[in-house]
Amino acid sequence: MAVASGKGGTGKTCVAVNLAVSLGSVQLLDCDVEEPNSNLLLHLKQKKVEFVYVKIPKIDEAKCTHCGSCVKVCQYNVILALKQQILLFPELCHSCGGCMLFCPQDAITEEKHPIGSLNFCKANDLELVYGELEIGKPMPVPIIKAAKQQINHSKNVIIDSPPGTSCSFVETVRGSDFCVLVTEPTPFGLHDLQIAVEVLRKIHVPFGVVVNRAGVGDRKVYDYCTKEGIPLLLEIPYDRRIAEFYSRGIPFSLEMLGWKEKFQALFSKIEEIEPQ
């Protein structure tokens, strides 16, 4: 089950973590690899780190005849062939393998290029895996793919998605049985929710909405959900205590009475609507 939003800062991580601690025996996968924040609320001890690599071309200058085939094949402008020299921009490489495949001299092999890491944490029944993109590397998607390979199929899995609605979001939520969209009742919240809904419909992932900071803004998010037949799963009120618990890195359902049950009920509700 993915937790996503479109707009940033609506409370995805807050919902994902509170769900995880309320349910107990789950795996939480933090796919917001540009800014992974789940463990800032969970404070779990790190058990293991694995580096994530992508494959990039390595050109054997002794074999290279500077024919330029690789430059023509590459759709991402990774390779620049000068008269005397070949320049590589590995940050742009999508690891398609085309340059290697179509080099007439067999001068290209591949080497591993590190772009980030997977971090494994555990406490009691709660497992956390979070991906982390190295600063300065532009491509989060390979780390999201690597994180999703760690999915523990024997457990319920909660996936914390990155903000936005482009490639990272799509890669994260694809294949999930359900997606919880966390929004806030403001014009920005509604606008970005609508884009996220369009994407989820396109990739056939069922979804419902959690309204966070209920009480601020206006009623348009509610009107939209009613009109579109989108289930409203939970409302979390705007409450300064919740904001303060979050700021200090504490899941508020551990401190505020009745919220553990509300998050458990949220999950049961999703299990009921899941087969669409």
């Binding site: 939003s5 479109g6 707009k7 940033g8 800062g9 609506t10 991580t13 917001d32 540009e34 800014e35 924040n37 800032l40 609320l41 094949v73 759709q75 991402y76 999508h94 690891s95 398609c96 393998g97 085309g98 495949l101 179509f102 993109l133 600063i135 300065g136 590397k137 532009p138 491509m139 989060p140 990155p162 903000p163 936005g164 609605t165 482009s166 490639c167 990272s168 979001f169 799509v170 694809r174 403001t186 014009p187 920005f188 606008h191 970005d192 884009i195 369009e198 994407v199 396109k202 990739i203 601020v216 803004g217 206006d218 300064r240 904001a243 303060e244 979050y246 700021s247 200090r248 890195g249």
Partner: protein, 291 residues
């Protein structure tokens, strides 16, 4: 011409509300909304579209079923698992690398340009706005950011405007890198939460990596005075100027609901005064005239 990018690392810290306010204060300005997959700034600045261009950011493989001999070589060669068992292309998984088209022995596959979104050039009362919208679920937002910035630059040159204010996206990945490359300064909008400080440090690392001068402001500073102090201390230790401390005020959301920036909706509020003072400091740093 001077360019300032507003970013945050963490989402929802108030980038767009602050960028919108700066645009109102700047007056003769080009504003570029570079949060192309979830752009919100138009809801505050109400641009009138003058020009629309389609954005062709990537390619897509198309299989001609009449030519296809069903050998399956394309499926085996594709590194993105974008070709299914029955040999159809999954347009979401396809990254347009073209390897399948080159390897197909029946030349049944072509690589076509796909329209991934639209870019717009618009007028706003304060000047001009360059913005865009990526089609839902499309990739390559970094390239679209580059196009939005190029459009902003062109219009600044033709209309002789000397400031471009860029609203960035959350995170530190490709669209963010595209929105900060070559700018004169970046303003990081932070918030006093553990996530806020964590993400601030990563985004400052990114600015350092790309040699962009950083400035910080702390939004909703009164939510957690302890962490606000930690952020100030961190910035002091790293020689980064904190330009403003903006208090929490529900009027910022009310302004948004009314389609206005806080400096228009409640010009005498503490939030507005603080943003105005920040803008004065920014104009000094960028050496541009305040109005």
């Amino acid at each position: 011409m001077k360019q300032l990018t507003v970013i945050s690392g963490k989402g929802g810290t108030g980038k767009t509300s602050i960028t919108g306010s700066l645009a109102i204060l700047a007056k003769n300005v080009v504003v570029a909304d570079c949060d192309v997959d979830a752009p919100d700034l138009h809801m505050l600045l109400h641009p009138q579209i003058m020009e629309k261009q389609s954005f062709k950011g990537s390619k897509l493989a198309i299989i001609d079923v009449f030519k296809c001999a069903k050998c399956g070589l394309c499926r085996k060669t594709c590194r993105f698992d974008a070709i299914s068992d029955d040999l159809t292309v999954d347009s979401i998984a396809c990254e347009g690398c073209g390897v399948c088209a080159l390897i197909c022995p029946s030349t049944a596959i072509t690589l076509t340009e796909r329209v991934s979104g639209n870019a717009y050039i618009s007028t706003i009362p304060q000047g001009f706005m360059s913005h865009a919208l990526l089609n839902p679920g499309e990739g390559n937002s970094g390239k679209l950011v580059t196009l939005v910035r190029q459009n902003a630059k062109n219009i600044a040159i033709t209309k002789k405007l000397d400031v471009i204010i860029i609203d960035g996206s959350p995170g530190i990945g490709c669209p963010v890198i595209a929105s900060i490359s070559g700018v004169d300064a970046a303003l990081v909008v932070s918030e006093p939460t553990l996530s806020g400080i964590h993400d601030l440090k990563r985004v400052l690392g990114l600015l350092n990596h790309f040699k962009v001068a950083p400035f910080v402001c702390i939004n909703m500073h009164d939510i957690n005075p302890d962490i606000t102090r930690q952020i100030q201390e961190f910035c002091r230790a790293n020689n980064i100027e904190v330009l403003g401390l903006i208090p929490y005020n529900k009027e910022v959301t009310e302004a948004m609901v009314n389609g206005k920036t806080i400096v228009e909706y409640s010009p005498e509020s503490k939030v507005s005064m603080e943003i105005k003072q920040m803008w004065t400091k920014i104009t000094k740093v960028l050496e541009v005239t305040a109005n």
